[in-house]
Amino acid sequence: MTGIGTTSPLGGNATDTWDALLRGESGIRSLTEDWVEQYELPVTFGGRVKVPAVEILERIELKRLDPSAQLAVIAAREAWLDAGEPTDAKERILVDFATGIGGLGTLLDAWDVLKEKGPRRVLPMTIPMLMPNAAAAAISMDLATRGGARTCVSACASGTESIANAVDHLRQGIADVVICGGTESVFHPLPIAAFAAMHALSTRNDDPARASRPYDIDRDGFVLGEGAAVLVLETYDHAVARGATMYAEIAGGAVTSDAHHITAPDPEGHGASRAVLDALAHAGVSPADVNHINAHATSTPVGDVAEYTALHKVFGDRIKEIPVSATKSATGHLLGGTGALEAIFTVLAAKHRLAPPTLNLDNQDPEIPLDVVTSPRELPENVVAISNSFGFGGHNAVVVVKSL
């Protein structure tokens, strides 16, 4: 792992985001868009990116890319620069990139134009902007990589699945460098109304910064966030050969599916626990080695318990001794981008031997007796960590991070 980049509710780059996370800042604020009041939305807050794309990108890039792809390009440029701009043959550099939903804002805006002004006013860039592969394509074109630009779509597990895929691509030898990660930007009244219709979102409108509260007894749903996170992966030998600075090792990853329910997690945690065990086996480590967890922990009443059940299945009572960070408490839930951002947090935790804090844990749910990290906590010299993501559709994805 030789490069990271992100634009998130906590900051416009990886350093600012990590520093804000360690300081215990929240990226969740009241939304100021006119449509919040216009549609009397039941949820009036979320985690918009701290630095809007309009402050970074050229006007033409803003016009040609859906917001989700805009954020992806910003994060990818940072990660690529951070990796020292590898000079490999462009055909050996692969993009495997995730989104949960794709260019939804572009689609909905174009539909408005069609209804109000007719089909002749629908812009020709509509399809290339809304297609779910647009972010992967934008990164590939921006960095002129030609080893394939793949798209991974598995709802909120997408970002983590992309990283697991990247490890496989490198092990299979089909690329020398893989640019992976995920993005999402769906701040529009429709997805907010739709998530609210599922009773999935927190409605703590009067106190946004305290709304995302994983494991707290008063948690009432997840908080929508936006952002992108990108990681540059290469094999250890390749990184050494070009003299790259390494953050940590993405030692393995795995993906499983529940076949249980379209939105509800399997209460027994069969699929999720199998994903953890498979990822650990893929990484060549055992559950006994794990000493840090970045949990999916979205702050929903049911999801947080289901993840605990799955973790207990893997680690037994030792789970009470493993420091767990639930960073969505600060960032909100970036959907297809969330796993990639949390993988970056896990990588930085391994590099700095420091577990980041979980916000808003005032009264821990007695049904979830985890060792939750609430202020930055030192980790042992040899960090073996997992980062979990689970998505609608019964998708489970886990990656394993080892310190170097």
């Binding site: 033409i60 812009l123 020709p124 860039m125």
Partner: protein, 82 residues
């Protein structure tokens, strides 16, 4: 509402600039959209969609292919407005 050629040129230059970033002062008579201004076909189609709204005219799809230069476009729009 008929406009003069210079008024249409100014409006067209603004649309071209908005879509492609080409400076408005580069969009002048005698220039070809593709060769001189490096405007690709999808940008050209976007400019056409926006021009129909801006100038209150209809530019048929088969006509778009014939609008190769700034002169072609301005002449067509002025004619269609008349």
């Amino acid at each position: 509402m008929a406009q003069s050629k210079d008024e249409v040129l100014a409006g067209l230059a603004a649309l071209v600039n908005d879509e492609t970033g080409v400076p408005v002062e580069s969009v002048v008579f005698g220039k070809s959209f593709a060769e001189d201004l490096d405007i690709d076909s999808i940008s050209m189609m976007t400019i056409v969609v926006n021009a129909e709204e801006e100038f209150g005219v209809k530019i048929p799809d088969d006509k778009v292919q014939e609008l190769k230069t700034v002169d072609d476009a301005v002449d067509f729009i002025v004619g269609a407005q008349a």
